[in-house]
Amino acid sequence: MVSRRAFLKGSGLALFGVGLMGGIPAFLAEAVASDKILRPYKRRRVMVCIFQRGAMDGLMAVTPFTDTYFQAARPTLRLASVAAGRTNPVIDLDGRWGLHPGMKAFEPFFKDGRLAIVQGIGSPNNTRSHFDAQDYMESGTPFNKGTSSGWLNRAVGLLGHDALTPFSAVSLTSALPRSFYGDNPSLAIANLQDFALQPKGNPAPAGVAARSFEELYDQASASLLRETGKESFEAMKLLQQADVANYRPAAGVVYPASQLGNAMRQIAQLIKMDVGLEVAFTESNGWDTHFNQGTDNGIFARSVTDLSNSIAAFWQDLEAYQDDVTVMTMTEFGRTVHQNGTGGTDHGRASCNFILGNRVDGGKVHGDVATLAIENLEDRRDLPVTTDFRSVFSAVADAHLQISNDKVLFPDWSGKKAAVMKV
C-alpha cells in the first residue's frame, strides 16, 4: 500500500495544492495502491490517436516528388518540386518523399528522428466506403462488422493492471467513438470545462445542488450509481482545482484555434494533471477532398497545417512529459493516384500515417512502396496497401504501452508487427 503522501509527492498533484475532501481522490489512491507493477512514482505512458476522417490523400501529404508517373497522373494537382526554385516547394525528406509545405512544423521532428511516416498503410478490406472502412479500422476487424468492441477499448483491457481511473481512456469528442466501444471504462467529453455541475449560463457555483447530489449518490443503493457518482464528484473537483478553464500551455506554445488544436490542448492538460490517462483519442475532419483540394494552398493545405501545427504545439507543450507520450494518426483509406475532373481525388486504397514520440524509429518513411507505374497500382488506379494498419497499431501499442496480446487486440490478425518503433 502506497501512502497518500508518497503518492502526492510523486505525482505532481501536490503542485496545485489539493484541498479535496479527504485528501486525494479515492480513485487515484486506489489506482496507485492496486498498481500491480508497483511503480507508484512512475507516470503513466500515453498513446494519443488522431483519426483523420474522410480519407486523407496520403500522396499529397507525403509526395513521391521525383516519380514521373505521379507527375503524369496529377498534371495540376501536385506540389512544386524542390528544384524548381518556386515558393512553397515540398520539403525533401529523403530524396524520394517530400512533405507537404503546410506541414513544416513536422520537419524538425523528422530530422530529429522522432517522427516516422508509414507510406502505403491501409486495410486489407478494399471497401471504398468511408463508413465501412472507418468501422473496420476502429473495430480492428476489417472483415467483421459485428465486432462489438473497438480496438482502443480492448487496449485498455490489456494495459496489464487494474489501476484504471475515470480518465484512463478519454476521447475528446462529443460522442463515444467506435474505437472506444466496449466494456472497459472510457469517457467521451468534448470540453473538460463541461465536467462540472451547471457549467453554462449560471455564474454561481451550484453549491446546494452539488452538495445535495453528492449526498444522494453517496447513499445510493445501486452500487453502479454510488461508485460512479463518487468518482464523478472527485473527478469534477480535481478538474476544478486544476482550473482547466485557465490552462496556460508552456511558454511560447500556441495551439491552433481549431477543433483539433483545442482537443490536443486538453489532452496535454490531462497528461500534465497525472490523472491516469493512458489512451487518448480525438479526430480531425475535412479530408474527403473530391473537389478542388488545392496544392500548397486551399482545403488540403489548411487541413495538413492544422494537423501538424496542433500536434507540434501539443508536443512542445508536453515538455518533460514527452518521454511518456506517443502520437499516432490514422485515416480510413487513401485517394486515387490520378486527379479527378473536379480538381480533387476520389476514394482509393492506401494512405500514409504519422507517428511521433521518443520511442519511434523516426526520420524515415517506412513502407514498401513501388513507383506509381500503372501496373503497380491496385485496380490500375490506387496506391496498393503494402502495410496492414494492424501491424503498425500493434507495434505502437506494444512498444509504448507493453500491449503484446495481439490475439485480443486484433483478433483476426496474425501478421508481423511493422518495425516503426525502436527496439
Binding site: 463508413f131 462488422k145 459485428g146 463515444l176 465536467f195 454561481a204 446546494v208 444522494l216 460512479t228 473536379t342
Partner: protein, 529 residues
Amino acid sequence: MSGTQVGPALRFPWRQAGLTERQAAAHLLSRFTYGAMPGQVDAVVKMGLENWFAQQLAAQDPDDSLEQILSRYDALELSNEQVAETYPRNGQVIRMAIRDGVVDKDSVKADRVAYRQVIRQYMEEKGYKRQQELFRQFFCQKILRAAYSENQLQEVMTDFWFNHFNVSLTKNDCAEFIPAYERDVIRPNALGRFNELLLKTAKSPAMLYYLDNFSSSGPARDTAQKRARGLNENYAREVMELHTLGVDGGYSQQDVTEAARVLTGWGVRLREDGDFFFNANRHDQGEKVVMGRVFPAGGGYEEGVDLLNMLAHHPSTAKFICHKIAVRFVNDDPPATLVDKMANTFLEKNGDIRQVLITMVSAPEFWSAGALREKTKSPFELAIGAVRSLHATIDQPMQLYNWVTRMGEREYYYQAPTGFPDKGAYWINTGSLLSRMNFGLALAAGRIPGVRVDLLALNHGHEPENARAALLIYGHLILPERNLDATVKRLTPMLNERDSTMTTPAVEGDPMLAQVVGIIIGSPEYQRR
C-alpha cells in the same frame, strides 16, 4: 398490424410478489411507457392493470393531439423516392450544380462565402432542401411521439426493434432511407410477428445499404461483369449473429457464405409501390445448403424468404430474441426460467411478439424484487421520462435531442450493427452522470430552450411552504410509489440553507422549487426504472 387476439384472461401475479396494486401499476408504467405522468398510476389502477396492458398491446388509442403537432413537420410522410428527390446529399448537390454549369468546378476554393451563396440559391431554385433538415424532423418526431403518444408500448417497442435491427445515420449510403425505415418497417410491425419484421427489414433500402447486401451478387459470367460482381457476406453474417440466432446459435462460417449466396440479387429501386427490387441477373442460381437445409438450384427470390423464415422460427432465435426482450423489460441479467417461458411462447405462437410480452408480464419473475427498479434509464428514457413527469410542453424538441446526445446516446447515430448496449454499465460513467444531474437542474429551471415547465401547476398552483414540503410533494409526484424517507431526511438540512448560490430560473418561479425538482430528476433514484 396482424391483429392477434389478446384474450380476456390476462392475470398479472403482482399480489403474490407482495406488491400493492399501486406499486404494481407504477412498475408496469416504468417498463412499458417512457415514464409515468403525474396521476397516471391512479388512472391505471382505476382501469385495471390487465386492461391497461391489453389496450397498449392493441396500440389503437387515438393520438389526435400528437398528430396535430406532427403535422407541422412536412418531411415525415415522404416516400424514399420523394426523399431522394427533395433532400439530395451534399456531394450530389455540388455535382449537379457543376453539371448544370451553375458553379465552375474550379471556383470551389476561391471564395467560400460566395460559393455557398450560389449553392444555396441553386438549391432553392431546384426545390432541394438540406438533408440535415430531413434528419432534424426525424429526430423531432421521435421525441414528440415518445413524450406524447398514448400508445406508449408501441413507441417503446419501436425503439427496441430499431435498436435490434440497427441502421445508422453515420453511413451516408443508407441515411436518407432511415426515416421511412422506422416509419414503414419498424413501427407498424413492432407488436406484430417476428418473421414479418425480419423480412421487411431485409428488404428495406436502409438495411440493404447499411449492411451492403444491395451490392452482393452471384459469380460473374464474363470478365466485363467482374468489377461490379461479387459476394458480400456482411448482411448474411449479421442477420444470423445479431438479428436471429445469436453468435452461438449453431451456424458456421460456411453457413454464412451459403446464406449470402441465397440472398444475392436483393436490391433497391425506388418506386411508389415499394423500394425492393429482386434482380434475377445478380442472383446466384446454384444450389445452396444452409444449416443442413438444401435450397435447390433456381430458387430465386423465394428461397431468400424461406431462409429468413427458417431463421425466424429457429429455437436459437426464440431464445436470443426473448433474452433480449427480457433484458429490456426485466433486468440486465434476466432469469433463465423466464426466458425459457417466453421462448416457448415465441415458438408456439409463431413469433407473435404480443404473446411473448404477455407471457413475460404474466410470469412471477417480472414482478420479483430482482426486477423492480433494476433497470438504469437510458439517456433518452431519462429525458423523455422527465418531460412526462413534469408535464412539460415541448415547443422545439432539438435541445432535448442535444441533451440526450450529451448524456451519451446520440439517437440514430450508433455506428455498429449491434445497436446501443442495453445495460446500465454502458450508460453510467463519470461524465454522463454529471450531465444527467445538469439536465435535471436545467429542465426544472426552464433553462432548456423550447421546453416549458410549470412546476406550480403540477401542484395545482400551490406553492410549497418550504424546501422540505417541496421535496415531499414533488418527490411523490415524480417518483410515484417509491420510499423517499431517507432522501428527504438527508436533503432537508441542506436545502434549508437557501444560500446565495441558488439556481436562478429563466422563467418566473421559485428558485428553491426549481432546485428541489432538479435535484429529484438528477438523483440516483430517478436514474432507475
